[in-house]
């Protein structure tokens, strides 16, 4: 067995450079900050630029189906950059989770989602871990769906919802136009991935997958594996920005970055980020390769990178001092994104508990 490549390929580096340039132009900290004050004018044009103009909505879709035919490795690089810019676009929810489900079903909606013309979202609470109990609405004999799903990410930007619904003995997946549902955005800790409560009241659905649970879990696992890369991107912004600031900021007649107490904290953060990069790259590579180790790789990456990104954002605020606490300075955007990402798709504790099952380190006695 040849080891998975944990580095970045030239193609991945090119993709990163292109996306970073675009985000530097369009996704300024001031524009991102404005979404917290209700000005979401950044979101639609930015998503169009990322999804359609750069063609990233179809990254995971084969070329024959109108996509770019890339792999999870490239999607991971996209998420690193979106995290680094704290970009408020529904890439993870539409181009990863919904796209994987539509791919699995061979659904006709796929080309439109791959082109960025349509945007879809799985109607499930963002906090749901890949191995957790799945929330599902009720369905009747005419495929009408009724129920409430809270804290759904990507629903506010979507035109199509993919809704898990209980049938007699399993969970099926239905497509529902947002016009047939009530999507109520909620004030969220992270407004760059704003949540919405979805209410369905005898909404007419179209069956996408009759036995959808394995596909839903696979899509959530892929999302957890790739969210680690977003957490890596968040962490890198925090470290780079803090290092740059501490080289400029002077107290006691010298740059504060020369004080050993601060240097050592930044060295520890760098060490953590190098580790997070290995974990996130491994998860993305395992996903891309269809490696059997993916469940372990995804939970290791989500548990480690989730905590690390929060630490990076907290360190950034502390080491910036007072300026880090202000609304004007962008550090707060990264703390909110990091903390929400930590809770999304299973907390680090949930993923560690899952790992205990996967690698035989449970609390239970053998045979119990």
């Amino acid at each position: 067995m040849t080891a998975l490549n944990l580095l970045y390929t030239d193609i991945e580096d090119d993709l990163r450079a292109t996306l970073r340039d675009l985000l530097a132009d369009l996704c300024t900290p001031a524009a991102v900050s404005a979404v917290y004050d209700g000005d979401r004018s950044l979101v639609a044009p930015l998503w169009k630029a990322v999804a359609a103009d750069l063609g990233l909505a179809g990254l995971l879709v084969p070329e024959a189906l109108g996509g770019a035919g890339a792999s999870a490795r490239e999607a991971a690089v996209v998420l690193e950059e979106l995290g680094r810019a704290s970009a408020p676009v529904p890439f993870l929810t539409s181009a990863v989770v919904a796209t994987m489900l539509l791919l699995n079903a061979g659904d006709d909606l796929l080309p439109a989602v791959a082109s960025g013309e349509r945007t879809a979202a799985l109607a499930i609470p963002l906090s749901t871990a890949p191995h957790a109990l799945l929330a599902a609405v009720a369905t009747d004999s005419q495929q009408r769906l009724t129920g409430v799903v809270t804290s759904v990410a990507g629903a506010a930007e979507a035109d199509t919802l993919l809704v898990p619904a209980s049938t007699a003995d399993r969970i099926a997946l239905y497509a529902v136009p947002v016009a047939s549902a009530s999507v109520a955005p909620v004030v969220s800790l992270d407004m760059t991935r704003q949540l919405a409560d979805v209410t369905l009241d005898y909404a007419q659905g179209r069956l996408v997958l009759a036995d959808a649970e394995p596909a839903i879990r696979a899509a959530l696992r892929a999302a957890a594996a790739l969210l680690a890369s977003e957490q890596l991107g968040v962490s890198r912004w925090c470290l780079e920005t803090t290092v740059a600031y501490l080289k400029e900021r002077r107290q006691f007649g010298r740059p504060v970055g020369g004080f050993q107490a601060l240097k050592h904290r930044l060295a520890d953060l760098y060490t953590g980020i190098e580790s997070a990069a290995a974990a996130a790259r491994y998860a993305a590579a395992a996903l891309a390769a269809g490696d059997l180790d993916l469940p372990v790789a995804a939970s290791v990456a989500k548990a480690f990178c989730g905590d690390l990104a929060v630490l990076a954002a907290e360190e950034a605020i502390q080491l910036h001092g007072g300026i880090g606490m202000t609304w004007e300075y962008p550090a707060h955007l990264y703390l909110k994104r990091a903390k929400a990402d930590q809770l999304a798709l299973g907390t680090p504790a949930e993923h560690r508990a899952q790992l205990a099952e996967l690698v035989d380190l449970t609390m239970r006695a053998p045979g119990a």
Binding site: T9, P255, G258, A267, Y270, T271, E274, A277, L355, L361
Partner: protein, 397 residues
């Protein structure tokens, strides 16, 4: 995704198969087999042809070692020559003359000649550039006098890599030269240094009028600091390079958890899982670092790996003792012995706990490594150095 466009792993498999077809490990004498393996370029894959390698990606080394292990071949007992294989060899490869590479690398790899490291001194620990051991030129030779300390394997070593001061009138970093020292010289006196585990893995080494031919100087006169840094960067990469999940201490702790359900409780469980994840991530970080290095000399990035390794081994060994409870109160043996191999995971849990305390001191303290990362990787302002530009002779000691 494979590591290269062509197929180096396949190439390696073909080389090994061809070698084994003509060299049967079951019938060949051990040393002859190892020498032939070296001469076939199947010792360390990343080294160039003619020096035990094939110039293949270093990430293939575990594959290579596994292929030979599966064929039932003898290994070169790498644990007995950690400093030779991990530090001396890459430094000799990078800085040695053709004659030096030819003379030293082969017996080093086969284990015929064990190496140790004469770097630290009582007055030069973290401040390694402050070494006071003097080397004075005498014709074609150097005469060396001084005291070295924390020298593991000095009692088994045939050779040492040595840093000594050749010009005390220059600033401290500029006046150092790097030598390959014959430990059989009558002026070398090795005395065991007993440590907290009870044994003496380390030694003090007293050098009295030791004569070293100039042909055993590695790198230019006055270039010792640069060569020593290459050694130290290799050291930090060599430490904590685990290829397989749950190898090393985390595997021992996990086994204890699995085999002793009566020892479990929820707090230990939470700590175990956190450390298991961190150990797995450290394994991947090491793998990624090796992919990054492939052939080149390691830079200061290896310091991060070593920092993590030290912290994890200390936390894991502490957890292991708590997990063992009553058994953790016992200790295998306090008898003073001089071990021939260095094995962090050997002995019992109490030994591991005590030995791990050295992991954040040896090979660069964790505090010095943080300085290195902050200054050389992140570019933060350097610590004030009042001694950097003054002649070493004038410094207060």
């Amino acid at each position: 995704m494979a590591l290269a466009q062509n197929d180096p792993a396949g190439e390696l498999r073909r080389h090994v198969a061809a070698f084994l077809a003509t060299h049967d490990p079951a019938t060949m004498e051990r040393l002859s087999f190892l020498r032939a393996r070296y001469d076939a370029g199947l010792a360390w894959v990343a080294f160039p042809s003619g020096h035990g390698g094939l110039g293949l990606p270093g990430a293939l080394q575990p594959d290579l070692d596994r292929l030979f292990a599966e064929a039932g071949a003898p290994d070169n007992n790498p644990r007995a020559n950690i400093i030779g294989l991990g530090m001396a060899a890459p430094t000799i490869l990078a800085f040695g003359t053709a004659e030096q590479k030819e003379r030293y690398l082969r017996p080093l790899w086969t284990g015929e000649e064990i190496w140790c490291q004469l770097f630290s001194e009582p007055g030069a620990g973290s401040d390694l550039a402050n070494v006071a051991t003097r080397a004075v030129r005498d014709g074609d030779e150097w005469v060396v006098n001084g005291q070295k300390v924390w020298t593991s394997s000095a009692h088994t070593a045939r050779f040492a890599i040595l840093v000594a001061r050749t010009d005390p009138d220059l600033p401290k970093h500029a006046g150092l030269t790097y030598f390959l020292c014959d430990m059989a010289d009558p002026g070398v006196d090795v005395r065991p240094l007993r440590q907290i585990t009870g044994e003496a893995e380390f030694n003090e080494v007293f050098l009295t009028d030791v004569r070293i031919p100039d042909a055993q100087r590695l790198g230019p006169e006055g270039g010792g600091w640069k060569v020593a840094n290459a050694t130290l960067n290799n050291e930090r990469v060599a430490i904590g390079a685990a290829a397989v999940r749950e190898s090393g201490i985390v595997g021992l702790v996990a086994s204890t958890w699995r085999e002793h359900p009566e020892l479990r409780n929820t707090e230990l469980h939470a700590r175990l899982l956190k450390l298991w994840v961190e150990a797995e991530v450290a394994r991947l970080t090491g793998q990624r670092l090796r992919q990054k290095l492939a052939l080149g000399q390691p830079g200061p990035e290896g310091s991060a790996m070593k920092l993590t390794f030290a912290r994890l081994s200390q936390q894991l060994t502490g957890l292991e003792l708590e997990l063992l409870g009553e058994e953790g109160l016992r200790y295998s043996d306090w008898t003073m012995v001089q071990p021939e191999t260095v094995d962090f995971a050997g002995h019992d849990a109490g030994y591991r706990y005590l030995r791990a305390k050295g992991n954040s001191i040896e090979g660069g303290t964790s505090e010095i490594l943080r300085n290195i990362i902050a200054e050389r990787v992140l570019g933060l302002p350097a610590e004030p150095r009042v001694d950097k530009h003054r002649p070493w002779r004038e410094l207060a000691r």
